[in-house]
């Protein structure tokens, strides 16, 4: 690259380093969207019995011309050789409000996992119209025009966590926008696609948040 571009790039990376390095004053929250939060419950560095299954990685919610999609990822990121996490004792919530009031929940989606012998299955209840569906993971399940799939997926989140940690520990600029800590890593996740006609109301606002809870209390 030209020297001008190179200088610009270096300045930009330095800025990023300054921002993210100093953000470490409140732990490494900004290092991930929600992975390993809350630390004293889900991060092995701060909890001897971290509850990885109940650790939400990310929640996504967006619309297309025809559908609203919500996706919840959790129990990661993990390397490629690890299996999905289907914990019977964790209740996952995707709470959707479609009345324009964000703190209310009109569509309380609940996700549970169970097993038939060693075969994991997923159950999703509280879908629009009170619909529910269950079946094996790693299969696309359908109900009333809605699609549900639980399984192991690529973790779509991207961020230079290594550079952040090295910059903090070494006091030396280590950021690299070509380096993605989450590359090559998987999360377990559930994706739910809902036709807009089944969920969109007036005003045209939809609010979404997620939670994970453990049966019998925290680990």
């Amino acid at each position: 690259m030209s020297s001008a571009i190179s200088r610009q790039f270096a300045a930009a990376v330095a800025l990023g380093a300054a921002i993210l390095g100093l953000a470490s004053i409140s732990h490494r929250e900004i290092a991930a969207a929600d992975h390993l939060d809350a630390p004293t419950r889900t991060d092995p560095a701060f909890d001897q019995i971290p509850d990885r299954p109940a650790d939400i990685a990310d929640v996504y919610a967006w619309h297309t011309a025809t559908d609203v999609i919500v996706a919840l990822t959790f129990a990661g990121p993990n390397p490629a050789d690890q299996a999905g996490t289907y914990d019977r004792d964790v209740l996952y919530e995707i709470n959707i409000s479609n009345d324009g009031i964000p703190e209310t929940t009109e569509v309380p989606i609940r996700i549970r996992f169970g097993h038939d012998g060693n075969r994991p299955g997923v159950q999703v209840t509280g879908l629009p119209g009170g619909a529910s569906v269950e079946g094996p993971v790693e299969e696309t399940l359908a109900v009333n025009g809605m699609l549900v799939r639980a399984g192991l997926f690529d973790d779509p989140f991207y961020f230079d966590l290594q550079g952040f940690r090295e910059t903090r520990s070494m006091g030396t600029l280590r950021f690299n926008n070509q380096r993605d800590f989450f590359a090559g890593q998987n999360d377990t996740g559930v994706v739910i696609q809902i036709p807009r006609a089944l969920i969109q109301a007036q005003p045209r606002l939809i609010h979404v948040w997620s939670a994970a809870s453990r049966f019998g209390g925290n680990l």
């Binding site: 004053i25 004293t40 939670a211």
Partner: protein, 229 residues
């Protein structure tokens, strides 16, 4: 939005700017904050109040902690969140930059962090890419032993709405109570307080970050939303 904006602005302005919620959590000591540069003291109120998306200021992007989708507008964070969105670089812009001079993509255009996911994301269901190591096969099954216990038998571990913003702006000492709250609590005010429950904490954390970073932003030629005191 159906929201009393004027009242909300008043609530934010009444927030206790000096409240320090970022203390040391038991078993979770953060490294001590670096001392801010001399005379670096900023008011982040303009950051909380500036409109960072159509009809939405930063405060109501974060409080309550939910993703907001306006289906009349294009889908891209902070209007909802797609798996491809550069949420970290955009979050840095949302909380630090003056949006009359910069855009939500000021950092992403560089980019400061990697510019996208390491593998292509499918443009249709299931939207997420297959697992590394190969998509796992379905094992079938039909008689699954799902729990039927009431929700009251479960204890909250984690919650999430907005990516990064809320987690970056909630200090270690407040992590557990923050994760135990839900949007109705986000919009509550403690007894004797005139502001939403988490406003003082968010204001405090953002102030600390802003004070420490002000010289770096200036050196980079960027204009902050925060104003010198």
């Amino acid at each position: 939005m159906a929201r009393p904006l004027a009242a909300a602005v008043a609530l934010l302005l009444l927030a206790v700017a000096g409240c320090d919620g970022g203390g040391i959590a038991g078993g979770n000591p953060p490294p001590p904050p670096p001392p801010p540069p001399a005379a670096a003291s900023f008011d982040v109120t303009p950051c909380l109040l500036q409109f960072v998306a159509p009809g939405q200021n930063l405060a109501f992007l974060v409080i309550p902690d939910v993703l907001t989708i306006n289906t009349a507008r294009p889908a891209s964070f902070p209007n909802g969140r797609t798996p491809a969105d550069p949420v970290i670089d955009r979050t840095l812009a949302l909380i630090f930059l003056d949006f009359s001079r910069h855009s939500v993509d000021t950092f992403h255009n560089i980019p400061v962090n990697p510019g996208g996911n390491d593998v292509a994301l499918p443009a249709s269901f299931p939207w997420l890419a297959p697992a590394f190591g190969g998509q796992r096969p379905s094992l079938g099954g039909s008689n699954f032993d799902f729990r039927t216990d009431p929700e009251s038998a479960y204890t909250r571990v984690d919650r999430m709405g907005m990516p990064a913003i809320a987690t970056a702006l909630i200090g270690s000492a407040s992590k557990i109570p923050y994760n135990d709250d839900s949007p109705p609590q986000d919009l509550s005010a403690p007894p004797g307080s005139m502001t939403f429950k988490w406003v003082p904490e968010i204001r405090s954390q953002l102030t600390t970050l802003t004070n420490a970073l002000a010289d770096d932003f200036r050196a980079a030629g960027l204009t902050m939303c925060a104003q010198p005191i």
